[in-house]
């Protein structure tokens, strides 16, 4: 199975006596777009953050392209993290740098690109997300939707193999959700492997190859969007869909 990109084996995560992830084993293949949905507090974000080890799993293993992330040195982990872009709910842009500097910082410092190379690439990415004209502005002068698009460009600047999205539109005003989803849709169309924790059911229906339904620290159900939204197999999923649709 050479197309395995991420594999999780018996993943568990607890904070003190509170067990958030109980026992998860799953595979993400190259090129797949996965949408993870489920009620809040079900462990979706924690699961995503375990994939690039921003959270250290309590037990179990996480593999990325065959490397066991849960059992390697800090240096090796840093190198593998370059290939796993991440977009956060709160954007987390660096407020002391302008848009262009935000995007080019990591390529210059981590990949040792020259200023010219980094700037050329950053400008290209900003064009791709429709913000080339904002290059010299500071994050605080941008709308939430614009900031999130910069954050996507910043993650793409490291030329990642997979993109992790942690509720990328949850902190946005409704009228700005569309512009961010459009960028994500384009990204999916270009063949990027994506794992998206989201409450945007429309996006999941339209773009996902697989929907993972999480609740109570387990992945309860996996299916194509058609299967899942029309005929959910578990009662837990039915209840959830009844509530939100």
């Amino acid at each position: 199975m050479n197309s395995k990109m991420i594999e999780v084996v018996n993943l568990k995560k607890s904070y003190g006596s509170n067990t958030v992830l109980k026992d998860i084993s799953e595979v993400v293949e190259k090129g797949q777009v996965i949408c993870i949905i489920g009620p809040s507090g079900s462990g979706k974000s924690t699961f995503l953050r375990c994939l690039n080890v921003l959270e250290q799993p309590s037990d179990g293993k996480v593999y990325f392209e065959g490397n066991e992330l849960t059992n390697i040195s800090e240096n090796e982990l840093n190198i593998l993290r370059e290939k796993m872009g991440m977009v956060f709910q709160g954007f987390n842009l660096f407020p002391n740098m302008n848009v262009l500097e935000n995007v080019k910082l990591a390529p210059m410092k981590v990949k040792n690109k020259t200023v010219a190379e980094a700037e050329k690439m950053a400008t290209g990415l900003l064009e791709k997300v429709g913000l080339a004209d904002k290059a010299k502005q500071f994050p605080s002068s941008l709308s939430g939707g614009q900031q999130q698009r910069v954050a996507i460009a910043r993650a793409l600047a490291m030329d990642p193999e997979v993109m992790l999205f942690d509720e990328p539109t949850s902190a946005l005003d409704p009228e700005m959700v569309g512009e961010v989803l459009k960028v994500m849709r384009n990204l999916a169309d270009s063949g990027m492997t994506m794992i998206v924790v989201t409450h945007e059911m429309g996006f999941a229906k339209e773009v996902a190859d697989q929907v993972w339904f999480m609740a109570d620290g387990y992945i309860q159900e996996i299916g194509t969007p058609e299967e899942f939204f029309k005929e959910p197999k578990t009662n837990r999923a039915k209840e959830f869909l009844d509530k939100i649709l």
């Binding site: 800090e74 840093n78 987390n92 410092k109 981590v110 954050a151 910043r154 490291m158």
Partner: protein, 505 residues
């Protein structure tokens, strides 16, 4: 954790700390063994004090230059000079030895410590050879004897007639002096107030804080002749004549140097030079200063003092900041040893007074590195002190940066060092800029404490002006205004920068 640079810097810091803490104890041990060996072999006189002085070619004399007519400062042809009876004796002694004279001016109560830690070769500061002092140092023969006088305000002349008329009153005396003990032991019902500097005691007298000041005869007469509001009378203290005279002090076991001093003293006595020449000379200098005691003519003192204060502050801010960053990173580090070390350092420094730290560095570390100048000691102490406070400011700045910033950087593949260097620290510095500015301003003020070890900062120069002009309050007021103008200008300047940084963002 891959924080190699941090580790290296930490190692250096630990070394410095180790030296700071253990140096003084090592030295104490050495001194102790030295003195015990010398006392057990007095007859064999293997002491090299005299040849040491001759070898280095200088005689370093410690004194407290606020005690006219023995030692004080005067302007001679526009230049500030140490003058007085003791200065002339010191010059004669150095000449007899064939070496150069170097004078170190410091607080009277620091003199014996300076002697024990070999900062000075001898103390010639109108010091009485009391039996208590004899326990820790050796004395030459007495070179001058005067009685003890009480200085009072002239308007109280009728009220205080003798030493017994001060019941329930407070008498001032120099801390660590014979007079201080005499007030306690021989002035019935009077309590004693000790200050380090005589000029401050005179201020206390004039402002009514004390009813009188007990001091040496010649000094009392000098104050009275220069200030028409003062009056002095003989206290007729019952004192051992051996303990009232002035003698030179040497570190224990310097028999050869003491013998050389006695030779010089007996020569002076034989020709009666002190009474015939040195006392009148001192009086002349005192008159010439009192004629010319407008503050304007002392502006060079204040300028020089300000220069030193600023030098100490700027250098200390620089090193305090560097060390503060290291300490802050150690404190938030995951490595338990680094964390604990940093916490211990910070708590210890914040839990002890700067004044004690300054003296500890000068006399403690200075005991190991004898050539450590007071200025360097002051800068080291103030830097070490400032680092602890800066570390806490920086730590709070770092902790104020949202974890999302770190996570974003780490998710881009940056290692911990890059994350701190490019993302966290620049933002933290921006947040703590006002607090750092305050620390800078605080340092300008706090650095005044280095004057206790004789660093020529603004406070120290003020004391010189006080003793040279016999004026207490005015020099203090001028100094206060200088400090205020400097700190106020600086805080306005910092505010401007702060506003500009906010605007840019």
């Amino acid at each position: 954790m891959n924080m190699n640079i941090l580790k290296k810097m930490t190692a250096l810091l630990m070394l410095a700390l180790a030296i700071l803490f253990f140096a003084p104890f090592m030295q104490t041990k050495a001194v102790a063994s030295e003195s015990s060996s010398s006392s057990s072999s007095v007859s064999s006189t293997t002491d090299s004090s005299l040849s040491d002085v001759k070898k280095k070619g200088t005689l370093v004399v410690g004194l407290s230059a606020d005690y006219p007519p023995y030692e004080f400062t005067a302007k001679v042809n526009g230049e500030t000079k140490y003058v007085g009876i003791d200065i002339e004796i010191a010059r004669k002694f150095a000449k007899d030895l064939g070496v150069k004279l170097v004078i170190k001016n410091m607080d009277f109560d620091s003199l014996l410590v300076a002697l024990e830690t070999h900062k000075v070769d001898t103390v010639i500061s109108a010091m009485n050879p009391t039996s208590e002092r004899r326990k820790s140092v050796d004395f030459s023969n007495i070179y001058y004897t005067g009685g003890k006088y009480i200085v009072i305000n002239k308007k109280d002349k009728a009220k205080y007639k003798n030493k017994d008329s001060f019941e329930n009153k407070t008498i001032g005396a120099q801390t660590g002096s014979l007079e201080y003990n005499l007030v306690q032991k021989q002035m019935k019902g009077a309590s004693v107030k000790g200050l380090a500097k005589l000029n401050n005691l005179i201020i206390a007298l004039q402002s009514g804080k004390v009813a009188g000041v007990l001091m040496e005869e010649a000094t009392a007469k000098a104050y009275v002749s220069n200030n028409s509001n003062l009056y002095a009378f003989n206290a007729k203290m019952n004192v051992d004549t051996n303990e009232t005279g002035a003698a030179m002090a040497f570190s224990k076991g310097s028999t050869t140097l003491v013998n050389a001093a006695n030779k010089t003293i007996s020569k002076l006595k034989k020709e009666n030079v002190i009474n015939k020449k040195y006392v009148p000379n001192a009086a002349k200098y005192m008159k010439s200063t009192s004629k010319n005691n407008t503050m304007i003519s002392y502006w060079t003192y204040f300028a020089k003092g300000l220069e030193y204060t600023l030098i100490i502050t700027v250098i200390s801010v620089f090193f305090g900041f560097l060390l503060g960053i290291i300490l802050a990173l150690m404190r938030i580090s995951n490595a338990k040893i680094l964390h604990t070390l940093a916490v211990m350092y910070i708590e210890f420094i914040r839990g002890t007074p700067l004044m004690v730290q300054v003296m500890f560095v000068y006399f403690g570390i200075g005991a190991l590195i004898q050539s450590l100048p007071a200025l360097a000691a002051g800068i080291i102490a103030v830097s070490l002190n400032s680092a602890a406070y800066v570390a806490e400011v920086i730590r709070s700045g770092i902790e104020s940066i949202a974890t999302g910033q770190t996570e974003a950087a780490r998710s881009l593949g940056m290692n911990q060092k890059q994350t701190y260097r490019y993302v966290v620290i620049p933002q933290a510095i921006k947040n703590i800029w006002p607090a750092l500015g305050n620390e800078f301003i605080t340092l300008i003020k706090e650095s005044s404490i280095v004057s206790v070890i004789g660093v020529g900062d603004l406070m120290y120069q003020t004391q010189l002006v006080q003793s040279a002009t016999y004026k207490g309050v005015l020099p203090l007021f001028i100094t206060m205004m200088i400090y205020f103008i400097v700190t106020f200008t600086l805080s306005k300047f910092l505010n401007y920068f702060e506003g500009k940084m906010k605007h840019e963002q």
